[in-house]
């Protein structure tokens, strides 16, 4: 730990500021920001609940993924606006886009009827990307859990069997029902209980297989055409890599991998991102050879960071280097995604 200079706050009794006006009503409560406008969240809802007369779907700027935000980027013609919107989260209300200087008032006026901070029901491709991403994260957890079970490390595998239920399942439950996927929470919870209490039981293997099949089955309800479309799959890949990036950063302390769980999480996400890319790589190579080259190179560089499910003694790359690689993949994916969405619009 570094030692820093000392601030010495000498506030002796004599030096203390005294306030003469004692009968103050709490005027001190004035907000420091000049925005005393009263756009409450409730009001925003009211103006937005008109449905069914061709009004555009709303996008929640607090939660939307990049490709959804691209709609604003395209409409306003502001380069990298999507990233800028994400970077300025959280927003208390749509007007915060202006208050936080993400866009100008004039620009806001052009998109304001599509912006919300309320929970939105996703539709169309955004909904599928969201669904697939959540299942993809589950896959990542299970991939690394499998590796650890194979290494006869059930104790280390257990949290990764737990994460899909604990962190993800509730978030996707509604969609599973809607898409008529048989619930598999019970399967996952049963597996976790078993690994905790009786990891040597032969049933672990069969239950594990059943869990993986459940997730695969849930993914399979997405139309084949969607699951093989580069522009779609790349959105999912980038979401997975984004999580991997945060987890990897959280795994490292003092130049060592201090948190094995977070290291393993990030490994699982990258493994599955790789799997997904394999399925579309020849198509990307054909349609966008340059982007493909950049993505492929960065992905293989990235994969080296996780040589095994057991963390290496010394990190292969720093979090900054990992972020850089992931950014490169994201930027090149964007080219492919943009291309495929313009094609779709034709």
């Amino acid at each position: 730990m570094k030692k820093f200079k000392y601030f010495c706050l000498t506030i002796a009794t004599a030096a203390i500021v005294s306030l003469s006006a004692c009968n103050n009503t709490p005027t001190a409560e004035k907000p420091s920001a000049p925005d005393t406008n009263s756009t409450s969240t409730a009001q925003v809802t009211e103006t937005t609940t008109h449905s069914g007369h061709g009004s555009k779907e709303k996008i929640n700027i607090n939660t939307a993924i990049l490709s959804e935000l691209d709609k604003f980027e395209a409409k306003l013609g502001v380069p990298a606006l999507s990233n800028k919107i994400q970077a300025s989260r959280p927003y208390a209300n749509p007007e915060d886009l202006v208050n936080k200087k993400v866009i100008t008032q004039e620009q806001f006026d052009q998109i304001k009827d599509q912006v919300t901070v309320q929970e939105v029901i996703l539709t169309g491709e955004a909904k599928d990307v969201d669904y697939m991403t959540k299942l993809g994260l589950m896959k990542g957890h299970l991939l690394v859990a499998q590796e650890l079970l194979d290494k006869n490390l059930p104790k280390q595998a257990e949290p990764h069997i737990g994460h899909p239920v604990e962190e993800i399942y509730v978030d996707v439950e509604e969609q599973l029902n809607e898409r008529k996927v048989k619930e598999f929470k019970t399967t996952l919870v049963g597996l976790q209980d078993l690994v905790k209490s009786n990891p040597k039981n032969a049933k672990v293997k069969t239950d594990f297989t059943a869990s993986v099949q459940s997730v695969d089955g849930a993914i399979a309800v997405l139309p084949e055409a969607q699951r093989t479309k580069p522009g779609f799959v790349l959105q999912v890949i980038n979401e997975l890599l984004d999580s991997a990036n945060s987890e990897y950063g959280a795994a490292i302390a003092d130049g060592k991998i201090a948190a094995a769980i977070e290291y393993q999480d990030s490994r699982g996400f990258v493994l599955y991102a790789n799997d997904l890319y394999k399925g579309i790589s020849s198509q990307v190579a054909q349609d966008s050879p340059d982007a493909h080259k950049a993505i492929e190179t960065s992905l293989s560089e990235l994969t080296k960071v996780w040589p095994s499910a057991i963390p290496p003694a010394k990190p292969v790359k720093t979090p900054v280097e990992v972020t850089q690689l992931i950014k490169t993949i994201e930027q090149n994916s964007q080219k492919v995604i943009d291309k495929s969405s313009t094609q779709a619009q034709r």
Partner: protein
């Protein structure tokens, strides 16, 4: 007699706002600290000794967080006072001692998270952004509708808004509620949430102490314990308070994995306001048992100068970092 401290003519600026201006100023909505002092009885003196605070870029700042309250940004909406708070979950590494560093999840770059403070009946709005990799959430103790209960995961990179009325008054808390909750709490996603009563409590030197444990090897057992984030910190850096000054401690036990701990104060007894939900003390003692997430207001004043320890009387826990001391400074008589 702990009561002569309130007599005086000037209204004193609490050291807290100066601290805020000096160190925290940039990051926090400042104005509000005034409110407390102003609302407090106007003819009173709260004496708070000068503090020597090591500036650090660590996420743990035990001394700074002692008297630091986040009152949010106040807005008037439809004739109501709304306090808007912003909490961002992130990741950082803290140094528990010279040999042990530990990855934590922080809130606004801090562990424990900021002590949020509102008044009963106000509207509270919390903008929560998760930049910490896993899914997380913020679950507030208090009374609110189910949708605002904060058990739904907020995925990495996204933000959500929790909004509810501040009720009832008391010392509450907030914490992440993603399973395993033990790990999500123990790695740092928690903080104190104070709702002040409609009639302010008498002026006092108000101090926040949060007891927490660190399970550094993921074995569901704490290796280290701390007040306000850093093991042993207040043993090496005693908390200065004035002799005969009423001290109001806001104490929270958020030690996971151990069923309960006590809070014990040396050479004194304190008045207990259970969960901070009463205006009159419910008991007087020098050891109070606190289960996980239990919190109370404890009031006392020291008659004699000197150093006095405080710690859980589970002495193993104390010796692994959960102990500290007050340094009682002589109250120089300023008038004849």
């Amino acid at each position: 007699m702990p009561n002569n401290f309130v007599l005086g003519k000037e209204q004193l600026f609490s050291r807290r706002q100066l601290l805020k201006l000096g160190i925290w100023g940039a990051g926090f909505a400042g104005t509000a600290a005034l409110w407390h002092t102003l609302n407090a009885h106007s003819k009173s003196i709260v004496k708070v000794p000068p503090l020597e605070i090591a500036a650090t870029n660590q996420a743990v700042k035990p001394m700074q967080m002692l008297r630091n309250f986040d009152y949010g940004v106040v807005k008037q909406e439809n004739g109501r006072t709304v306090r808007e708070f912003q909490l961002t979950a992130g990741t950082s590494v803290i140094q528990l001692n010279s040999a042990v560093s530990y990855n934590v999840w922080d809130l606004n770059g801090r562990i424990p998270g900021p002590t949020l403070r509102a008044k009963q009946g106000e509207r509270v709005r919390i903008l929560f952004l998760n930049n910490a990799g896993h899914s997380h959430s913020l679950h507030f103790h208090g009374v609110h509708p189910a949708e605002m209960d904060g058990i739904r995961p907020v995925s990495n990179g996204s933000a959500t808004i929790y909004e509810f009325d501040a009720e009832p008054y008391g010392v509450h808390l907030y914490h992440c509620h993603i399973e395993p909750v033990t790990r999500h709490i123990a790695k740092g996603l928690y903080g104190m949430f104070i709702i002040d009563p409609p009639t302010p409590r008498p002026p006092a030197d108000e101090i926040v102490l949060v007891m927490a444990g660190y399970d550094v090897n993921d074995d569901s057992h704490n290796e280290y314990y701390a007040f306000n984030g850093l093991p042993h910190y207040f043993m090496d850096n005693p908390i200065p308070i004035y002799q005969n000054q009423l001290v109001r401690l806001y104490v929270l036990n958020i030690i996971e994995y151990d069923t309960a701990v006590t809070f014990h104060l040396h050479a004194n007894f304190f008045d207990v306001y259970r969960s901070g939900m009463t205006m009159t003390p419910t008991e007087k003692t020098d050891v109070i048992t606190m289960g996980i997430a239990e919190r109370h207001i404890l009031e006392f004043a020291f008659r004699y100068p000197g150093k006095y320890m405080f710690h859980p009387h589970q002495d193993a826990i104390a010796e692994n970092g959960c102990m500290g001391q007050f340094e009682v400074i002589t109250d120089k008589p300023s008038q004849t």
